[in-house]
Each structure stands twice: as C-alpha cells, then as structure tokens.
C-alpha cells in the first residue's frame, strides 16, 4: 500500500523565517500530489496540487512545492512565513492503481507554529 511520510511533526519558526516541510511517498507509479492546510478551528483546505507538467507548483498564500520523482518527494516551501500561517499541514497522494483509484493517502501532518 501507499505510505506517506511527513518527517516533521511540529515546526516552530519566527515570522519572516523560511519554511520547508518534507513529504515522501512510497509508490513508484503515476501519482497526484497535494498539500492541504487546516487553520485553527477551520476545515481542511487545498493549498496546492501537482497532477502533471512543471514539477514546481505554486499555491495560495505564497506557498510552493517541488515534485522530485527520483526522490519520491513533494516538499512544501515558503520563503517568508507569517503568523497567520500557523496551522497543520497535510501531504496527500493518490495513485493510478485500479483497486484504490480515488482514495487519498495522507501523512500524519505537521503542526507549524509561527511566533510574531
């Protein structure tokens, strides 16, 4: 089965620091990749996604992620974080295996805390 690893469980940064959150997956076939964010008290929202094409994708609020197929990775980055980026971030993957088409496999999430 597909597995998704997020290596950082809790990241604490000061405002204006740069951010990189790691995400690795296990299945070597065709994948679609997602980052979702959950702000305090709100539901999961899509931050960005990769289906095909340019492996560097840009999302909302200045976030970007790079798909590196050879490393099975889809790391999330932001050059300068803000206090309002405090949230939990989830990496998710779906793949092309017929038996599990459609389902998303999620990492355990990374809690980002940004101090003003």
């Amino acid at each position: 089965a597909q597995s998704v690893s997020q290596h950082n469980h809790h990241v604490i940064l000061s405002e204006a620091a740069s951010l990189e959150l790691g995400c690795n997956y296990s299945y070597g076939g065709t994948v679609n990749l997602f980052w979702y964010v959950q702000y305090p008290g709100q539901h999961l929202q899509l931050l960005l996604k990769y289906f095909s094409g340019d492996p560097l994708v840009k999302g909302i609020k200045g976030f970007e992620a790079e798909f590196i197929k050879s490393k099975f990775s889809f790391n999330l980055r932001k050059p300068s974080v803000q206090w309002s980026d405090t949230a939990e971030y989830f990496c998710a993957v779906n793949d092309d295996r017929g038996s599990t088409l459609g389902r998303l496999y999620f990492g355990r999430g990374t809690q980002l805390t940004v101090w003003p």
Binding site: F34, H43, L46, F90, S99, G102, R103, F106
Partner: protein, 113 residues
Amino acid sequence: GAGVSQSPSNKVTEKGKDVELRCDPISGHTALYWYRQRLGQGLEFLIYFQGNSAPDKSGLPSDRFSAERTGESVSTLTIQRTQQEDSAVYLCASSLRYQETQYFGPGTRLLVL
C-alpha cells in the same frame, strides 16, 4: 455556501449505540469520500462512492461500519454498536470526478463514552 456540509458537528454517544453521520457534497460532484482522523494521526480512508456505487470499501475497519449514498447527493455513514476506539473526527470530501481534487467538509467529531 457551496461547500461540503456535514451533520452533526459533534456527537457524543454511549458505547454500544448506533450513530449516523451525514454528508452533503458539493452539487454536481460525482465522487464522495469518507475519512476519519483519530487523535494524533493522519486521515485514514474509509470508503469512496462514484455516483451511488461504492467501488472501494476496503478502508472500512469492521462490519460495524457501513455507508450508502443516494444518487449523486447525500451520503450517510453508519456505525453500529459503537466502541470507544471509534472516537474520531469523521470527514467527508467530494470531487467532480474520481482522482480529481477533493474538497473537504468540516467533519463530525464523534466521542464514544
């Protein structure tokens, strides 16, 4: 609003009781998914509907869990004889078609005492 809605927002029940959780997907979305999130863990897939058929039920943890969907609209997740380990947030998502972007509802927080 045009988002995914779920009800109830919170449910407290006693061990052994049955519960029903409801999901209203975004209008026009043919695919609907249920996930659950237990404390400190990532989201765990339960079941997926394409229209009103369920091609993938493999995530349901036991035969106490079942789900149905009426046409391409409302879905109900039923948990029979609830156990304490069923306590979790149950999330519903919908997408225009399978393998496309999934949009999540606010979830139902279930607590089994």
